[in-house]
């Protein structure tokens, strides 16, 4: 399909189906089941899952393939948001020009940051990208205030020119749209005792995410992707084979920066607001965590990681002590208190603690992330059926399919 082999087509189909049916998948509990509050099928969360999926897929192109660990990708996310909001203010509320500009601007920023940072590798590269991102963050709060509107953040206002949209008499702020179809409009379907929300904004993000994922597959399977993995494996050999690694890593850096810019632009398209806190290095850390948790260097990993983290974040933040009490009310009184206390530390406000611990456990015991975990589970269930020769079953992630030309 679309120039992809069987495994990759399967991945692409999975992602497309997952995104198409997200409104159902994230609404697993019936309205009267008492678990209703853990449904995630409302537009805001679904959009975030798709957008952070794009961010993580893009980050994975750099980290997963070349092994360069950037701690500054949030700079591109923030830059994308600012660019998009400016487009909304100046030109039109249509989201297409906005996200295009987001990608271009963050791509340019990535060229500059990448060109300088990629002169060094390893830990130095991480620190350099971190330094650049922090610099952007600090500048957004100080020198660049005319552009970024400082701590208030960049917002729409009624007096914005919006050249293409023309003047309106409306007294309320316009909404982002795609050729007239408002991003925040939704269609609700009530069935099976659940309310399913189909949101225009989400489907817009979902389509873009699918395209972004498709491009990522093509990149992974292309000779370019192979070169990037070779850079990760042995730079010295690359050099002594007449290959200057810098253009390859820079191209990867810029592509992944544009993915991040696209994600930032989409964030602004869903909610036309941009603040410098999107550039803070903890935001860079978040995308690192998503990618690693899902499985760096694999195609599905970042998608899984972004989805799992955003969904769990939403659920965990909602579990407060009263919810826990209702869950454990059947326990004897003293024990109930203890159990609730323990769980309360990891839920609600404690979500970051859970995230940090999970992340540590994954890095320590499952460096390949969730994808590796799934593979191991598969192996466990398959064991006893038929032991497979290692040679016959090459790892599909890293092996090009056998070619037709083999003698």
């Amino acid at each position: 399909m679309l120039g992809l082999n069987k495994t990759d087509s399967k991945f692409l189909l999975i992602v497309i189906l997952l995104t198409l049916f997200t409104p159902f998948l994230m609404q697993p509990f019936a309205a009267d089941s008492g678990l209703d509050q853990f449904n995630g099928g409302y537009p805001d969360l679904m959009q975030k899952v798709a957008i952070f999926g794009i961010f993580a897929v893009g980050f994975n192109i750099l980290f997963g393939l070349t092994g360069y660990l950037s701690f500054g990708h949030a700079a591109f996310l923030g830059m994308g948001s600012y660019a998009a909001v400016w487009m909304f203010k100046l030109l039109t509320m249509n989201v297409i020009p906005a996200i295009l500009l987001s990608m271009i601007v963050s791509g340019l920023l990535a060229v500059i940051i990448g060109y300088i940072s990629l002169r060094r590798s390893g830990i130095y590269f991480s620190i350099l990208t971190l330094a650049f991102a922090q610099m952007c963050y600090k500048m957004a709060y100080s020198v660049l205030t005319p552009i970024t509107n400082g701590e208030t953040g960049l917002q729409l206002s009624l007096s914005d020119p919006r050249i293409l949209d023309g003047a309106t008499e409306s007294t309320s702020l316009p909404v982002t749209n795609i050729f007239g179809l408002a991003m925040n409009s939704s269609y609700k379907l009530e069935a099976l005792n659940r309310v399913f929300t189909f949101n225009v904004g989400f489907y817009f993000c979902a389509i873009i995410a699918s395209i972004a994922f498709y491009i990522a597959i093509r990149l992974f399977r292309s000779p370019f992707g192979m070169m990037l993995r070779a850079v990760k494996s042995n730079q010295q050999r690359m050099n002594y084979m007449g290959l200057n690694t810098k253009p390859y890593t820079l191209a990867a850096f810029v592509i992944s920066g544009m993915y991040a810019g696209l994600a930032g632009g989409l964030l602004a398209a869903m909610d036309p607001l941009a603040g410098a806190d999107r550039m803070l290095w903890t935001a860079s850390g978040e995308v690192v965590i998503m990618t690693i948790l899902g499985g760096a260097g694999t195609l599905m990993g970042p998608v899984l990681g972004a989805g799992v983290i955003k969904y769990l974040e939403n659920i965990f933040s909602k579990i407060n002590e009263s919810v826990l009490h209702s869950w454990f009310h059947w326990l004897p009184d003293g024990l109930e208190e203890v159990v609730v206390w323990v769980f309360a530390r990891f839920t609600g406000e404690g979500w970051h603690l859970t995230l940090g611990l999970t992340f540590m456990l994954v890095v320590t015991f499952l460096p390949g992330g969730l994808v590796e975990g799934i593979k191991r589970l598969k192996k466990l269930t398959k064991r006893g059926q038929k032991p497979k020769d290692k040679l016959d079953a090459p790892d599909p992630e890293h092996t090009p399919p056998p070619s037709k030309h083999v003698v």
Partner: protein
């Protein structure tokens, strides 16, 4: 002239904190070869040691004073800290007043224990893993430590005052023949700088003049060979980790009066300290210290109004700009050794 001296002095306290954290980072990196993103969290835990001790010392019991009444007419209750009851009012209140310096004694065993637990429990397993994995796992650890502190102490900064004697400022300039009131410098900052100088001196002499330090330095240069000599280098490195943690912890304790401890101060300092380490040269102890003071002072100069009027906003980003320039012109940093962290 006095303006320059004033900026240098203003840069010293921040520079001292950078230098102390960077020193610990470099010790860990040089000995264990581990890039520790949780080092800022150790600094933060140190600062919270000061908070904890000052809270412990102010633990009070209530007594009813029948001779007085409060504004509602009820008998007034008086809070008396236990320490005042135990050691007499004067000595007791002095102890509360001196909580921050006392916290150093309290923090050393705590920080060494934290360091040992971190090294034995987690970092030990990452010696042979790539640097990226080390960064990631210690980054996770930093988040966890930060959240734990946030749970116990809340999200707001907790002001932790210095002893009464060191409050206020003194006219530093007069001592060196400048005009009165030209250079006013807070006492505590001076104390912090002197304290940092003593700690740095102690660490360097420890490494320079003791057999233990000699072995560690040899281990930093060539771990394998030292291991082959039949020296249990791992155990010594564990101790070095504890020492690095203690240094960062003490830096945190003493910094508490300057910056009210909050749960994310570790992360804020970590980013800057890493920049310091890289500027100084990965694996170079003198480099880390020199770069710490240098960047602290540069930051202070950049915040001068004269400089800001030429380059607006430079005070916010000067450290990063300098770091980027140095990394590009001197890839190994100011005093970096060849072959450290180079692929």
């Amino acid at each position: 002239m006095d303006a320059i001296l004033l900026q240098i002095l203003n840069g010293l306290d921040k520079g001292s904190a950078y230098a102390l954290i960077a020193l610990g980072l470099t010790l860990i990196f040089g000995t264990l070869g581990v890039v520790n993103f949780a080092h800022g969290a150790i600094f933060m835990i140190g600062a919270f040691c000061a908070v904890t001790l000052s809270r412990l010392l102010s633990l009070s019991f209530e007594t009813v004073d029948p001779t007085k009444t409060d504004f509602l007419g009820n008998p007034a209750t008086i809070k008396t800290p236990y320490v005042e009851a135990w050691f007499g009012p004067e000595f007791g209140s002095a102890m509360i007043d001196w909580a921050v310096p006392l916290a150093i004694i309290f923090s050393i065993p705590v920080m060494i224990a934290v360091g040992f637990i971190m090294e034995r429990g987690l970092i030990k397993h990452f010696y042979k893993r790539p640097h990226a994995d080390q960064i990631l796992v210690t980054f996770g650890l930093a988040i966890v430590l930060q959240e734990v502190i946030k749970y116990f102490y809340g999200a707001n900064p907790i002001s932790t005052p210095a002893p009464e004697v060191f409050k206020g400022s003194f006219d530093f300039g007069v001592m060196f023949g400048f005009d009165p009131n030209a250079i006013i410098y807070p006492y505590w900052r001076m104390v912090y700088f002197l304290f940092a100088a003593v700690v740095i001196g102690a660490v360097f002499s420890f490494l320079r003049f003791t057999t233990f330090g000699m072995v560690v330095r040899a281990g930093m240069a060539d771990r394998e060979t030292v291991g082959l000599l039949g020296i249990d280098i791992d155990r010594r490195f564990t101790i070095m980790f504890g020492l690095a943690a203690a240094v960062a912890g003490m830096a945190g304790v003493m910094y508490a009066p300057i910056l009210s401890p909050n749960y994310h101060m570790g992360m804020d300092f970590l980013v800057l300290s890493f920049v310091v380490v890289v500027v100084g040269g990965m694996g170079s102890l003198p480099g880390a210290v020199a770069a710490g003071f240098l960047l602290g002072i540069l930051e202070s100069f950049a915040s001068m109004n004269e400089v800001k009027s030429i380059l607006p906003g430079i005070d916010q980003i000067v450290i990063y700009v300098v770091a980027i320039i140095i990394l590009l012109t001197r890839p190994r940093g100011l005093m970096g050794k060849r072959g450290v962290m180079e692929e």
